[in-house]
Amino acid sequence: MSQTDAVPPEFFFAELLLPLRHASARRNIHYLKLDCEAESYWSPVISRTGGLERLGAAECGGEAMLQRLGQYWVARGDVYLPKLVPYLMALRRDLLQAKPVGGEQRTELSDFVYPLY
């Protein structure tokens, strides 16, 4: 993961996310708690900001948000995820270039899908 312009959007998953899956599995790192049975499933609060974050107009663009995400991942102590940030920025640029000019992206989901993303 050194050349951020070397991963076209269609290969982002195969060349970046899938290897991360293998790497994290080898080290027994899990990003979702799926199978861990416990007496209680209550957990501490997750927040990047403590609940409220103030931004100025100059720091609210997509790239700035991705930088913030990288800082959050670093602060969380994750060694893999921060390396994704430049690639996410490149992917964002590619996707924005491919977007139809002036058109708001239509929701592609059917009515029977919960809008998770």
């Binding site: 996310l17 899938l18 979702l32 209680s40 995820l81 996707l95 029977f112």
Partner: protein, 613 residues
Amino acid sequence: MKTVIGVSALYHDSAAAAVVGSRIVAAAQEERFSRRKHDPRFPTAALAYCLDTVGGVDNVDAIAFYEDPALSLSRVVENAIELAPATEAIWQAAARSLLGGKIDVMEKLAHAVGSRAAEDLFIVDHHMSHLGSAFYPSPFESAAVIIADGVGEWATTTIADGSGTAITPIEQIHYPHSLGLFYSAFTYHCGLKVNSGEYKLMGLAPYGEPRFVQVILDHLIDLRADGSFRLNVEYFGFLTSRVATSPRFEEIFGMKRREPESPLTIPYMDLAASAQAVIDEAMLRIAHRALTLTGRRQLCMAGGVALNCVTNGKLLRRLPELAGIWIQPAAGDAGGALGSALHVAHQHFGAPRQVNVGRGDGQEGSLLGPVYSQDDIERALHASGIVWHVMEDDESHVAHVAQALAEGKIVGRFDGRMEFGPRALGNRSILADARRPDGQSHINQRIKFRESWRPFAPVVLAEHAAEYFDLAHESPYMLVVADVRDEHRTPVDWSDFRSGDADMIKVLNQRRSTLPGITHVDYSARVQTVDEVRNPAFHRLLRHFFDITGCPVLINTSFNVRGEPIVCTPEDAVRCFLNTGIEVLAIGRCIAFKSEQSADLRATEGKVQYEPD
């Protein structure tokens, strides 16, 4: 005093809200303006309405967004990695959605408002926005607060303590373990639209028996005594696909997903009853936990699950330690706009919180949307070409409308500010006499063009509510289900239902109570109490109806047809009046009677094109 605009957008039910000092002055969902139900797009029109209400963008001090787009992206990336390679297809879609637009939402907000407000942009966590909407406008100085929904960034359930202007989140349940997503899976399997059909699933439940509860608890959800829970993700599809359930979901219940719009059969009714019973139990445990942890006796709630008014009614009846409950009327994502603005007002600008000032709570009766002048209304009526009358004064108008209701007419009422939240609370409502024996099927089929089995809600004078319903608390926002009192009930014959015909209409056509129009098949009713403080004009109408008939109860259903958002403008109201079997349009100080309209105009009745909802 500082002015804060809050915005929720891009997932579902986009909305904008405006807060001046600590007072909510405006709030509206984008769908009402765009006429696209649950519109998720950036709320351009709702934002314009809020900016107009506060006197323009130059008066705005800060803008709040209801969710952290970076943390939401984190969840999606981590989900994609954890379950790769099965997540490849949804990653492609998610990347387009998030990186190709949603991650830029704050910049879009800054451009939309421009000027100095863009220098004070705030991101408020999704559940913090819900917490703000649930606690700040409540009538309680302090309370336990519960948020339960599908998912925000990571949180799906949050317990918090609210006191004064402080809200302290205590603990959470995180994605993918979610009561909202759990209930949506059953909605999907029963062939209903996710994120709108949940409401129908709740109404379907009383036709069934909860015979799948143990299967659900054994296989789908590990529900702990402390209210925490974990979903068995093998039964759900949303982690790796675009659908809510996995093939194992069908296998465990032994039934395929119901084809949308196909006849409803007993197994799906039983499934609805079972999902409802599990949600009831989970929320009871969570509420008990919240009250215990915080030491409070008052409870506030928001999040989509808080719109389950059957559960809300059970909390009131089954938790002896609960002294009072307040639920944000716009409990879904639209309310996040309001909560985020309030949070910035209190936490950043230090606005003091005024509890119980003015209108029973700080929600202003949830009458926070646009209002149209008598001139606007008359212009719309002129343009429509319909025959109409203007009354001399409000008293005369109320008398005519109450008389029409007493004569059994179906009335579309358009008056004052539009409601914020999914329920019509009288100002954009279709009203009818609840004693009318055919009320439920008649309005469903001829007015709303929706399924005959769906129940209607009663609106009752608050001072008479206890005579008709087992309800010890007020329910001003129609968010609590209570039973019709024993003395008003009549027996229902279910003898052929489960053994053979499963004929919902046959059950429905039985009288059930002295108020058949609003009594569901299990004698429950989703009650709205109306009082003089929150909505004096609507209270006056009910009072007048009571004076004529001796009955303080009306059917109250939203002023729209199936698949359409509730009407917003006078033009919307006239269109709905002409397209449906509504017999009287009461709009501002004007009245129009269907019987007086020309044959050409009357010919449009019933020709409405609706989308299945």
